[in-house]
Symmetry: C2
Subunit: 282 residues, 2 copies
């Protein structure tokens, strides 16, 4: 078994992003990510601070736009304002959203050109069509880790556990586009462990701590754990029971230190890319 | 084994669509479908004539817009013009398209409000998000037939063979939204027959005549054949080897007389729905 070192993958990306950001700054453009935060959730605040800190180190500006108990219309207005602001290149909207507001709906108001976390239905549709677009960063991180490990996806059986719009479905579509044979599982799947054991590549994105045990994993499978479940002591634990699964897997992402750091880096890479595209196609 | 009678399903839909069209006409609105035909392909011409004929019988207008050797820009301009025309409620673009032009790209110029065959990436993204939208009519017909047969999809294993943007992927997304456990197979899938044998519901959308034989089908499975491959004698044959598979399946769609008639009817139902929405939200 081999740990897939997300921090090392992030480090390689970091240099690429920092270099691209520097080239843009030399040309007078400061690549800028705007993060709309419609919640006072502490976990979200922690995550946003970590994005802002990493952005700063890499030469990007990060505008954190905190909204106090906003309604749907206030969130939409802010996303539209930022989408129209020529000094902003990437726009993301954090969750959780207020009761009755869905990211799928408000995400539409993020310009597809600035939609660096793939929240707009237009972006998701282009992804499904196999066209160039910004994919949701977490799903893109899954693919980036697999690519970095040299995992052959063509013809491989991939099983994605979880069918959310932000992770499970886009990860499945990306894997289909890479010619894997892809199965999407979820809470209604029968004999889930048996279905998961069909996987050469198993992607866990359910949000249930340590749910995926040894009986879910075919010996030699590659396991990507998207889960980031908070523990009572303030730590994080994945959807995969790492201790039980690691001896079986040929490679596995730890939590923390797997998908997370790569996700943040891809958000920033997308922002730099959006800034570059804005210059080329004003 | 039971034949799933697509013509009977279409007949039930037909009465619903005709009644809705009549209500609209009584209110002074003639529900109108525009079909852009950018090819002189004989199969396409035949299909378009059959849509126009059925539309007429149901009280819809059908405008066939034949383009002679058009370039990409001419097709786009026509789709934009029809999207802006208040007397047109549904717009579809037939294939094959000229070399180098893709439906995924030109489909974007069909207004999502008139996109009755789900060609716009926005429509496909909304479908992936599980939101209300016009799905590609063929993929919607697969679900309509399963619903009509009372096939329980929640927790069922569904296998879709084919990953096209117009059928395979949207059918897979619709099945996931219905809580099936869905596997997408394609030309790179290894041991395709074995994977297909896992299916309680098998959807064949490959475009290869009689490719799916008995060894692909678990006894008792429901088989939906999306294939419409022309035969030398001017007939149609499916992707499924009907004679070999029918004795195994619990239910199967014949070709012709399965998915095809339902697809046409759903296009027309979507057009009437688009006309109704245009009245309600002008």
């Amino acid at each position: 078994m081999k740990d897939i070192d997300g921090r090392a993958v992030a480090k390689a990306l970091r240099e690429e992003v920092a270099a691209a950001a520097e080239r843009l700054r030399e040309g007078g453009t400061v690549p800028t990510l705007a993060v709309v935060v419609p919640t006072d959730d502490e976990g979200t605040a922690w995550y946003v601070r970590s994005i802002a800190k990493t952005a700063g180190k890499l030469g990007l500006d990060c505008r954190v736009v905190q909204l106090e108990e906003p309604g749907r219309d206030e969130i939409v207005a802010k996303l539209q304002e930022l989408s129209a602001d020529p000094e902003v290149h990437g726009v993301i909207c954090q969750t959780p959203l207020p009761e009755g507001v869905s990211l799928a709906e408000v995400g539409w108001y993020i310009s597809p050109f600035k939609d660096v976390d793939g929240a707009n239905s237009e972006s998701l549709g282009r992804l499904a069509q196999g066209r160039r677009t910004f994919a949701p960063a977490t799903s893109a991180a899954v693919l980036e880790l697999l690519r970095h490990e040299g995992v052959r996806l063509e013809g491989a059986r991939a099983v994605v556990v979880g069918r959310s719009t932000v992770v499970g479905k886009p990860a499945a579509l990306l894997l289909v586009n890479e010619s894997a044979t892809v199965t999407v599982c979820h809470s209604r799947t029968k004999e889930l462990a048996a279905v998961c054991r069909e996987a050469d590549v198993l992607v866990a994105a359910v949000g249930r701590p340590r749910m995926i045990g040894a009986e879910f994993v075919k010996p030699g499978a590659v396991v990507i754990d998207v889960g980031t479940n908070p523990t009572p002591d303030g730590g994080l634990v994945g959807d995969v029971d790492y201790e039980a699964v690691a001896p079986l897997a040929s490679a596995i992402t730890p939590v923390p230190g797997g998908v997370g750091p790569v996700t943040t880096m891809l958000l920033l890479r997308n922002t730099v890319e959006a800034a570059r595209l804005a210059l080329e196609h004003p």
